[in-house]
């Protein structure tokens, strides 16, 4: 009899755990997405789906893609495309990296609002950030040694900007590395000769202005239309087409409510 009760108890506990797992979504990856956007989306989603729990770990895009390969997350957040080596590694483990574009991210080039310069070309941006040009007078400014502010080397944006704007060349030797967008905006706002790059949400910071690049101002419209040069898609990666709770959350993210949050947080909606 005792054995019978024990078996029933075990069955109930197991069923309870299964039920809990069914409503739990593990999301790992990009700190760009995972810092604000995804937690806010998760809160809204939970309001519509009571009982759902989220386990969100924002430790970089690489960890999100690795989590899909290893099967330790249902959704991998990434602010970059999966490398062919990662796609290959996934395939060798029988996984299929399925990308879903959830938002666009525009990277704005900012200068101090007192700087008379009205805009830059892509070539000039490359020259400035690589150190080929070191004085504002060389790019139409009023003169003065250019101070460059970049993200630190562990940032995905640091490498993305190299790829988007610098033909993968190295940053100028004297460039100063900042922890985040706020710090870059703050430093450029204080330094009349400063230049840096930030997410579009940070262009409203005091004392800075975003420059048109090749005559195109960074905005939701120019990023959506890809006419602005420095944009990038951000992703959810799943193992094949998402299903169950993961599918619901992906659909919610790219749906009208999710995209409103995307815009509110400072990203550019996909539609």
């Amino acid at each position: 009899m005792k054995i019978k009760y024990l078996a029933i108890s075990l069955a109930l506990v197991t069923a309870s755990m299964s039920s809990a797992n069914a409503d739990r979504l593990v999301i790992k990856g990009s700190d760009t997405l995972g810092a604000k956007l995804v937690p806010q989306l998760a809160e809204q989603f939970k309001a519509q789906h009571p009982g759902t729990t989220f386990d969100i770990a924002a430790e970089g895009s690489t960890t999100g893609i690795a989590a899909i390969i290893d099967g330790t997350a249902q959704i991998g957040m990434s602010s970059r495309r999966a490398k062919s080596s990662e796609v290959g590694a996934a395939a060798s483990k029988g996984k299929h990296m399925k990308p879903t574009v959830v938002a666009y991210d525009g990277i704005a080039v900012i200068v101090n609002s007192a700087n008379p310069i009205k805009g830059l070309t892509k070539k000039q941006v490359e020259q400035i950030f690589t150190g080929d040009v070191t004085d504002w007078s060389a790019v139409g400014g009023s003169g003065g040694k250019i101070s460059i502010y970049t993200r630190n080397t562990s940032s995905g944006t640091y490498s993305d900007f190299k790829e988007l704007a610098m033909k993968k060349r190295d940053y100028a030797g004297g460039s100063q590395k900042m922890a985040g967008n706020e710090q870059i905006a703050a430093e450029v706002g204080k330094n009349p000769n400063g230049i840096g790059y930030v997410g579009m949400a940070y262009t409203k910071a005091g004392g800075v202005k975003a420059l048109p690049i090749d005559g195109v101002t960074p905005s939701s419209k120019t990023v959506q239309g890809h006419s602005y040069s420095y944009w990038r898609p951000t992703f959810y990666y799943t193992n094949g087409d998402p299903s169950g709770l993961a599918k619901d959350f992906v659909d919610f993210t790219i749906g009208p409510a999710g995209q409103r949050t995307v815009a509110q947080v400072g990203f550019v909606p996909i539609k």
């Binding site: 062919s84 290959g88 395939a91 574009v101 996909i270």
Partner: protein
């Protein structure tokens, strides 16, 4: 359906483009399709993943290169050789006059290298070679048979022949540091081409192109950057279709010839001379003028100087017998002037090549060798004719030259190890003939015959023939080369 069609189209272009650029091309094509609103970003990203998956499964996709590498090239060669080499003792040799010491050897060599360009105008190279000898990459079959039985591997080692890095970020300039291919324009009379010197090199080259248009109009000048060969020599291989091209170049080198260890010993110097590193310094300027129809002229006057003593080559050089110092680098201030004139005769490339060298410090070198008044032995020169070229299947080439070196003219540690057995004070004739069996495979025959230039001196240097003086010398080599 549309996505599948797009994938098929992109995959098609992917498959039929070069492996190094196809991913980029596919990405550019997808970007264009998105901009034209033919497909959505989402569809493009799904296709990118499929293409990445395909690429990762190919052999090329499994090679991983670090991000800073822009371009990388694997190259090398394998050579099989039969060689006969013989040297005759002098007629006045006390024990064995007019006796030949002869060697028959079957040999192979392997050279395997990687060279590439990096981001921001940097470049690098690594080359592995068989044999520790700076003037030879050959391994003799069976030479180590007694050590561990037949076919032992004692002398089949792999060694670093080159390891260098450089920068080409300034127009016309190339800076190289490390163990590198010889950056100087030279000939085998002065430098064995197996030697990869160690140190620094600075090269500058500028090209002027002059077009003399019809009607007697003025000359127009244009500019072109680069032009150095893969071995970093300031030589332009082929004439371009223009009226007149003038390459002006300058090569400078600071080679660490011999490191002294320690520079500051406890107590007095064990060698009896100041303990300083030995450096070889080279200054070269030159020009190559290319006329229409493949006619060209090249001249590259050079000065070599030596500083410091080192702890292995501090001299004084004597070079009269095998027991003497045959490697000293004292009193060498060498002026060298390689020269070449080329033309085509019925589309057959022909050239006359020459080299003249003299040691300005030969008086001191001779006196230190125990031959006061022997400083007249300061000259070395070659004069030769080349016909044909070895570039593609069925090409052939013959080169023949006369070479004359005197005892105090050149650094015996650098001269070619084959033609006259790494020695000076030998003169004679050499002939090389080659035929390309395939684009990458050539057969080559080499013959040389020489004798002492001046019987009052030995044949300074350390060669494979273990006698000094070498009164007469013969060499025959038959090679099969595979170059890749």
């Amino acid at each position: 359906m549309l996505k599948k069609l797009m994938f098929a189209a992109v995959a098609f272009s992917f498959a039929f483009s070069g492996s190094a650029v196809r991913a980029q091309e596919a990405g550019a094509l997808l970007d264009l399709l998105v901009r034209k609103k033919v497909i959505s970003d989402q569809e493009a990203e799904e296709v990118r993943v499929e293409l990445s998956k395909e690429a990762a499964s190919t052999a090329a996709g499994k090679w991983k290169l670090s991000t800073p590498i822009n371009e990388i090239e694997l190259y090398g060669d394998v050579r099989l050789r039969y060689e006969y080499r013989g040297g005759r003792t002098a007629s006045d040799d006390f024990t064995n006059p007019n006796d030949w010491q002869e060697r028959h050897r079957q040999r192979y060599r392997l050279r395997l290298g990687l060279r590439g360009t990096l981001a921001d105008d940097w470049f690098f190279g690594v080359q592995l070679e068989t044999n520790t000898n700076p003037r030879s990459t050959n391994v003799t079959f069976g030479a180590d048979a007694n050590a561990n039985g037949p076919f032992a591997k004692n002398d089949d080692g792999i060694f670093v022949g080159r390891a260098y890095l450089g920068y080409k970020g300034f127009p016309d300039f190339t800076f190289t540091g490390g163990k590198m291919a010889n950056p100087l324009v030279t000939t085998s009379m002065v430098w064995d081409d197996d030697i990869n010197p160690e140190g620094l090199a600075e090269q500058w080259k500028h090209t002027f192109t002059l077009n003399f248009g019809g009607g007697g109009g003025g000359a127009a000048q244009s500019y072109s950057k680069g032009g150095y060969g893969k071995e970093s020599k300031a030589v332009v291989a082929e004439a371009e279709p223009f009226k007149l091209k003038i390459d002006v170049f300058a090569n400078f080198a600071q080679f660490v010839y011999d490191d002294t260890n320690p520079e500051n010993p406890i107590g007095p110097s064990p060698t009896g001379v100041p303990t300083t590193d030995a450096f070889m310094l080279a200054w070269q300027v030159g020009t190559r003028v290319t006329f229409p129809n493949g006619v060209y002229f090249q001249l590259a006057p050079t000065v070599y100087n030596y500083t410091g003593n080192g702890d292995g080559f501090f001299g004084p050089f004597v070079g009269d017998t095998t027991d003497d110092n045959n490697i000293g680098i004292n009193s060498l201030l060498v002026f060298d002037m390689p020269m070449e004139v080329g033309w085509k005769l019925w589309e057959l490339p022909m050239r006359i090549f020459s080299d003249f060298a003299t040691n300005f410090d030969a008086d001191d070198r001779a006196e230190a060798a125990g031959h006061p008044g022997g400083g007249g032995q300061r000259y070395a020169w070659i004069l030769g004719l080349g016909v044909g070229q070895l570039k593609a299947k069925k090409d052939w080439e013959i080169r023949a030259w006369w070479q004359h070196t005197e005892q105090f003219s050149l650094d015996p540690n650098l001269v070619d190890s084959d033609i006259f057995d790494s020695r000076v004070n030998i003169q004679g004739v050499a002939v090389k003939a080659g035929y390309m069996l395939a684009d990458a495979i050539s057969l080559n025959l080499t013959y040389s015959y020489g004798w002492r230039t001046n019987g009052n001196y030995g044949t300074g240097g350390v060669g494979d023939i273990g006698i000094n003086p070498v009164d007469q010398y013969q060499l025959f080599q038959a090679d099969m080369n595979v170059k890749f």
